[in-house]
Symmetry: C2
């Protein structure tokens, strides 16, 4: 855990409350936290869900390597310490997005249970949905969308999750999806239903 | 296996674009970056503007020293290096919020021109509005809302902006507000007009 270095600070009264923004948006803030091996389908599910939600009139936003690793976390690498700080910052940004009322979808391998739990705690468990993309390693490796497994097997990349760095599977995720069996579209439908049941978005009229 | 309820959804494999979210929200993303001494009125203006925008039906969110320093930046202190990283991260979060379509208001002293320029570059200058709260030091010190000037004058706090650490005034801000002369409500009206003129929010019907 990170210690609070900054002193001289107090919480201000005066913010617009989260509920007021959620009323405006006709939705409740949430974080859909996808986790799984490289190639397990996290980004594809994230983008598909984002589009589905926006088409239903909901404000949704994907945080992934494209917009986080090149921006907020560009001063972090892939050491265990930096991975931890990467996920810590992501959880804190998720907390801000949820407070703003947004349905936020994250697409990071996030291999360590402890780090995911820290993110859950930051966001608040009622608003945090851990989605385990439990796609078999051999399928992920055959997909190899970025050619990284090939490099890891050849020893050109060290510390690659699933090859020579551990992936800790979630013990109690809100949903498990094996994308070798479930299409991104079906996954998005399942996730929308999950959000409906949790009261984060209204049900579609029949 | 799943009944597809949302029949009119088209599926995509990529981020939803900023413009699609802006159309949904009927506004354009922006960062209103207030800067000025402690006690210069940044937070008061930020909250007043946030409430005004939400009452007009716009999604707005304040990032301030308190909710950021307790979360994302709780591992940063007040050294020059940490202040720089504090503002860098804030600029990057502002960039994400703007991409999500939100009118984001930041309330940080942000004393160094270079750091504010980095934030402007991250966000994009068309979406960045630097608001200089140019309230005289003696007024700020008399207000002393957190009792910090008193402590700084007594030598209990070192490196306090305006006392023994420099404040670099913006050379070309989008707006200058002296809150010893302009009320928070009038400031919010001026800022709404600025956002209307910039095409970030629609004008109110007469």
């Amino acid at each position: 855990m990170t210690k609070i270095k900054a002193t001289n600070i107090t919480w201000h009264e005066g913010h617009v409350g989260r509920e007021e923004r959620e009323t405006l948006l006709k939705q409740k803030g949430a974080v859909i936290w996808t986790t799984g091996l490289s190639g397990s389908g996290k980004s594809t599910i994230a983008y598909t869900l984002e589009h589905a939600l926006v088409q239903r009139g909901h404000l949704s936003y994907v945080l992934d390597g494209d917009n986080i690793r090149h921006g907020l976390n560009k001063n972090l690498g892939f050491s265990a310490e930096d991975r931890e700080e990467n996920i810590r910052r992501l959880g804190e940004v998720g907390k801000l997005f949820v407070d703003a009322g947004i349905i936020t979808i994250t697409a990071f391998i996030s291999p360590y249970s402890k780090d995911r739990d820290i993110a859950r705690e930051a966001v608040g468990t009622d608003s945090f949905f851990e989605i385990f993309c439990d796609t078999p390693l051999d399928v992920c490796e055959e997909r190899d969308p970025k050619g990284l497994y090939k490099k890891a097997r050849a020893g050109e990349i060290k510390g690659f999750t699933g090859i020579d760095d551990p992936y800790e599977a979630p013990s109690n995720p809100e949903m498990v999806i094996d994308t070798s069996k479930v299409s991104p579209q079906d996954a998005a439908v399942l996730l929308c239903e999950m959000l409906e049941k949790a009261g984060k978005i209204p049900q579609l009229a029949d």
